[in-house]
Subunit: 229 residues, 2 copies
């Protein structure tokens, strides 16, 4: 398996976590989505990551299609460690949360921050590179606080985000948090329940490769890879 | 069943089409998402539509969770009329297209146009109502042309968007097109294959209620409800 991803893309990290939980070790290829590389556009005309090249050499495009594909093809043999609950209504709740963290939070918080602080460093001037826009950052940071408050509320009311077992919802939220934490954007003091939940999550073996990620010219804060932060 | 929706929300229209194809006639409640009505926020803290109240009186939130829920609970008895193909890779392709039309096109074309031309008429000044922003409209209209070109390419290369059978992909694209067509935003002359595909789609009985929709102060062009436009 081969995964086209970007280091600070939360949907990409979500799929890396999923694959690790399913015991798969894909080859990783970092793609700069804004570059619109012709060979990559052939595989995904949207130009976005993640894209998983499956056994059949067909590209599976986007976190939604990939996570459902993996659940359909790998889920049943995972038995009680399956990352989706059994009942349709519980599955709907997991999907609501995945959508929250990888669509809503992605578009109003995670992606704008990743774009302003990382992508713009990696882009040429013609591609839109340059200094971060402080108004965009300010708005996105306000949204980060709201999403962390909601995550704190979920982590406080439930053992794991969608109930008692680990599901796609935890990995989606974990992927988002790990990007924001890499960039030092999370105020851990204000959300103790979210902090406790994330500490448990980041000690899973599936998280280790994410904690070893480094972006050139953007070092993470020292607590980023610390399991007892 | 009860569906919270908005008339010019493509994800809401997608769910209305799905329910009609599954033979369900939900009670419809139009929700103004920007109003953040407290009773509605209790059901969906994101404040967004669509939300389907199921048999169990639990809210199923968002087009992604609802469409998968309906496929899981209604799909198997639909047999060969099921709106999802049988193989995981074909299902992945359907989900890629649903995501394209209801996430990508929604955020860069459909929702900005609906917001500028309809929501802002329905909002109070405090809620952000007022005149449309012409720069936002211009950018979104450029994206509409791109999405229609891609739709035309798909409709030209395949009988239906994800292959030979009607799937969620057609209904997702149809929901998007119907919103834009209501607002007179589609140049039908330039995409004959898309036009032929949409003409076939809109003569399905499931489309009839959408073609009867009317928004106060925003009448549709005369071809909107014409089956032989």
């Amino acid at each position: 398996m081969l995964l086209y991803h970007h280091t600070v893309s939360a949907p990409s990290r979500f799929v890396r976590l999923l694959l690790a939980e399913y015991g798969e070790t894909p080859q990783l290829v970092e793609e700069m989505p804004w570059a619109r590389r012709p060979e990559f556009m052939q595989i995904n005309p949207a130009g976005s990551v993640p894209v998983l090249m499956s056994e059949a050499e067909t590209g599976i495009v986007g976190a939604y299609a990939i996570s459902e594909y993996l659940d359909e093809t790998r889920g049943p043999i995972m038995r009680e460690r399956r990352l989706m609950p059994g009942s349709p209504l519980e599955r709907a709740e997991v999907r609501r949360l995945v959508d929250w963290f990888l669509s809503k939070a992605e578009s109003d918080a995670t992606r704008p921050i990743a774009r302003e602080r990382v992508f713009k460093l990696q882009m040429t001037a013609a591609e839109g590179g340059g200094a971060p826009d402080s108004a965009v950052l300010r708005a996105a940071r306000g949204n980060v606080r709201q999403h962390m408050r909601y995550l704190g509320w979920l982590a406080h009311s439930r053992n794991l985000l969608a109930g008692d077992r680990l599901t796609l919802a935890d990995l989606a939220a974990g992927a988002m948090v790990s990007v924001l934490d890499y960039l030092g954007e999370i105020d851990w003091g204000s959300e103790p329940a979210a902090r406790d939940w994330y500490q448990r999550l980041k000690s899973r073996p599936s998280f280790r490769p994410l904690l070893e990620d480094r972006v050139r010219r953007v070092p993470p804060p020292s607590h980023y890879s610390d399991l007892d932060f």
